[in-house]
Amino acid sequence: MSAIEAVDLSKKFRNTLALDSVSFEVRRGEVFGFLGRNGAGKSTTIKILSTLLLPSEGHAIVLDHDTARDGQEIRKRIGLVQQALSYEFSLTMERQLDLYGRIWGLSHSERLAKTKYLIDKFELKDSIGKTPSQMSIGQRRRMQIARELMHDMDLLFLDEPTTGLDVQTRRLTLDLFREKAKVGLTIFLTTHILQEAEYMCDRVGIIDRGRIVAVDSVDALKSKHAKEHTLELMANPISEAASVLGKIDNLGQISPISTGDSTIRVPFSSSDHQTVISEIVSALTQQGISIQRIGMVEPTLEDVFIGLTARVN
């Protein structure tokens, strides 16, 4: 059964076509990653699905309701953590949580219990009694996520929810979402941190310039779209090694992993890894270049994403 069914969704803002016939499906209980570059149309899609915007064309069914007709029915059953921070400027952190609980009709005792649980869970004790202007960006982000979890829901939209969070809090937050997904919550996640998507998502959709370019599981995307293989090589001197490798046919563009590093990545298309490695080793040793380490690296979702979005561009 689908939690979300987007059919030919298009959205035009004046002369800009933000979404162009976007269609995809999100199954109930899955964590669906929606990835794209800045301005690709991720947030616009979320705003249409969460009933904040109407599509210019097409339609979307969310939890069996049409977003254009039954907005209120949908909003009763969804949660939304938006990319931009949002807060009541003059309320303390705990009152913001309480107010949200009230909006969702929680009783006083439920609000107290949930507020306490979420303050503990998101390590917000230091923010008790503080208004947003007295809190760091990370604390405001944690408050925003905690606030959304004050109420129960069937579907949660997360638009870059971990922006501004430190590594520990990011992992803690993702684990909390995973826990909720395990007990049936459907999650629609956008993020620029692709390791986060790999960690969280059952399936991923990639959007570029308002068009869907791929939808599948992470593993399927890797096997379908990461057609090039990558070899990682540590050698000395690295600049000469790069120069030698540049003269070998069938190798892609050689790139250092990071500036000043003695490691380079060499993409190639041949599926005969052993022959390619032998050829590289032979070419380098003939030139007196010492090889410290050589091996294949697994393609990442990032490789797939860059490949797909680069091709479209």
């Binding site: 947030s43 904040l52 931009a84 921070l85 949002s86 807060y87 009541e88 400027f89 909006i103 969702w104």
Partner: protein, 247 residues
Amino acid sequence: MSGFAASKAQLAYNLLSPVLYVFIVGFGYLGIVNFINIGGKLVNYVLFVTPGIITVQIMSVSLQTGMTLFLDRQTGMFDQLLACPFSRRDYVLSKVISIVIQGLASGLFVLLIGIPILLGTIGSLASLWNLLLVIVSLTMTAVFFGSIMLTTVTFIRSVQKFNILFNTLYLPIMFLSSAFYPLENAPKLLSIVALGNPLTYSTDLLRSGLLDVQTSIEPLELVATMVLGVIALVSAFIAFNRVTVEQ
């Protein structure tokens, strides 16, 4: 509303400013302004100006409360609240109710501190007609100015534009009305402009109700105040339904 109440500085300002108006403007001008004739009844300047200060206070608080929608947009709460399980109509309605409650509370506070001044006339509220005038005036002032602010902020997104508009309109609305001086004695142009100002009608109604005076245009002002309040409210609903979230 809880956000507004939590702003202690705002609350203190709203409580203190009308007191200052009553004492500085009211008693300050008492020595230089003669008795004023309203509907055949002579009243001193403090009595004359107190109803004006009450409506100005309600207008001021209602505009500030309506402004919270602008703050909601600035702090991302507008989009967030629209994703909550209620309709846009409910959202506007809650804003208007909040405006009316806060506007009335501030107006009643000024009325409370004005009781010693109005003591001789407060008994006039025993008359149902006078009571009606007072209630319509207090409520519709809040509804009108709060709704106008709600409508305005749906069109404005920049803080600078908002500040310019607010400061440009606030003082003329306050002073181009019958709140601080009788229009009969004002220059012709000024009194004509003031007749187009809804604050004039609601102030005149409150003055009539509190001071137990009748003027010939009282029924007209009553209808005008109610009609303008309803028009402003409907405008707020329409503007709110059309407003879009940030892209």
